[in-house]
Amino acid sequence: MKFKITRQDNPDTPSYVEEFEIPHRPNMNVISALMEIRRNPVNSKGEATTPVSWEMNCLEEVCGACSMIINGKPRQSCTALVDKLEQPITLEPMKTFPVVRDLSIDRSRMFDALKKVKAWIPIDGTYDLGPGPRMPETKRQWAYELSKCMTCGVCLEACPNVNSKSEFIGPAPLSQVRLFNAHPTGEMNKAERLNAIMDDGGLANCGNSQNCVQSCPKGIPLTTSIAALNRDTTFQSFKNFFGSDR
């Protein structure tokens, strides 16, 4: 099996492509192929080289750590089965993010964005507040879909408006705002989150290319979230401007 891997030794050094050939085993995924290369780091010219660096954790497409560009599309390498991919298999890092080394990237900006939009429900206090309000089952069902986000970065990679010329935080943290605003307790801090995504680099930077919803490995309705937040922020901006007691 042939692999063409875009490599980079340092965050600041230029990238280069190195080819590898490894024996085929049944049911291999891209990660087990990378492990095979790591076992014997020799490129297809027969030269000894450094093992390829990549990130992985859960190996079942729930952690989002092993995202990379495989044959041109960003996805998780754990669920990329080698037998279903065209040869040679090209692997590239998601360059929307800073490259740490080879296929490892730094997704810190996504976690910073989650902090910025307050993607949590503040319930800490000095005494027991008792049970919160109940959530209607129909709402719980679609909110659960939004909760599947694993901060993998694929939607940011696919978005034409997330790039070095823009501050756009990307679709993932926006959808989390809708998730936490949908929660009956989280709803109590709805305005704070909406104001956070109305700041520079927020919601308004979406250009509706809808690549995010096409690319999301978890099938999260990101563009529905964005449009729903567009509606919420329309009302929020009126409240901010004219004043409101609600």
Partner: protein, 209 residues
């Protein structure tokens, strides 16, 4: 505290929403009106000149032009260029329909700006210098086959930019939220594109005899 939350909101949001709004109201509405009035050309020189003269002799003309056309259009154009060149178009990797519309919206915006700038220079600015904007002026311009092509591309690109911009206006203001409503909106705005294309192409060919 309330003031503080408002202050925390940056300028991007208001400017982007203003850009989206002005593209439809008033610039888009003016475009529709302009194309419809020009369609009088299909009824011959006299009917076009009568309509053009009526528009010219509207009271408060300069005030109307400034606030309905010049200022909103200038803002929409300048900020639109900023948006267009900020995007990193990626249709080769992601060849989805909406992504193509995203790219075409930016390409058509730039073509439209070039066309409109030339069109304003050739008609409104010349009128300010004393030229009479009438049927024979347009006939004269469109006697050149190169200009016919330029006008066809320019006008169709403008109509596309308006129709597709209308689609994203509905999303940006939260009017179409569900995938189904956005799909219906695609068909409706496609209808707008086809209808306005017919109106404007008929007008252009009415000047060519």
């Amino acid at each position: 505290m309330k003031g503080a939350t408002i202050m925390a909101v940056g300028r991007d949001f208001a400017i982007r929403r203003l850009h989206s709004l002005l593209g439809v109201i008033p610039v888009g509405l003016f475009l529709v009106q302009h194309l419809v009035v020009n369609h009088f050309a299909t009824g011959g020189a006299e009917s076009f000149n009568k309509a053009a003269h009526f528009m010219e002799s509207l009271p408060f003309r300069l005030v109307l032009e400034t606030f309905v056309i010049y200022l909103p259009l200038l803002f929409h154009a300048v900020y639109g260029l900023y948006i267009a060149f900020q995007a990193k178009n990626n249709t080769t990797r992601y060849g989805y329909f909406r992504n193509w519309m995203f790219t075409l919206q930016r390409v058509s915006g730039v073509i439209t700006l070039i066309f409109v700038a030339w069109h304003v220079w050739e008609t409104r600015v010349q009128a300010a210098f004393g030229a009479d904007v009438n049927f024979s002026m347009m006939e004269d311009i469109l006697s050149n086959p190169f200009m016919v092509a330029f006008y066809l591309i320019g006008v169709l690109s403008t109509v596309f930019h308006f129709a597709n911009g209308l689609w994203s206006f509905f999303v940006s203001w939260g009017l179409t939220v569900s995938p189904r409503s956005q799909r219906i909106s695609t068909y409706v705005t496609l209808g707008v594109f086809i209808a306005l294309s017919i109106v404007s192409v008929r007008t252009i060919f009415a000047f060519i005899q």
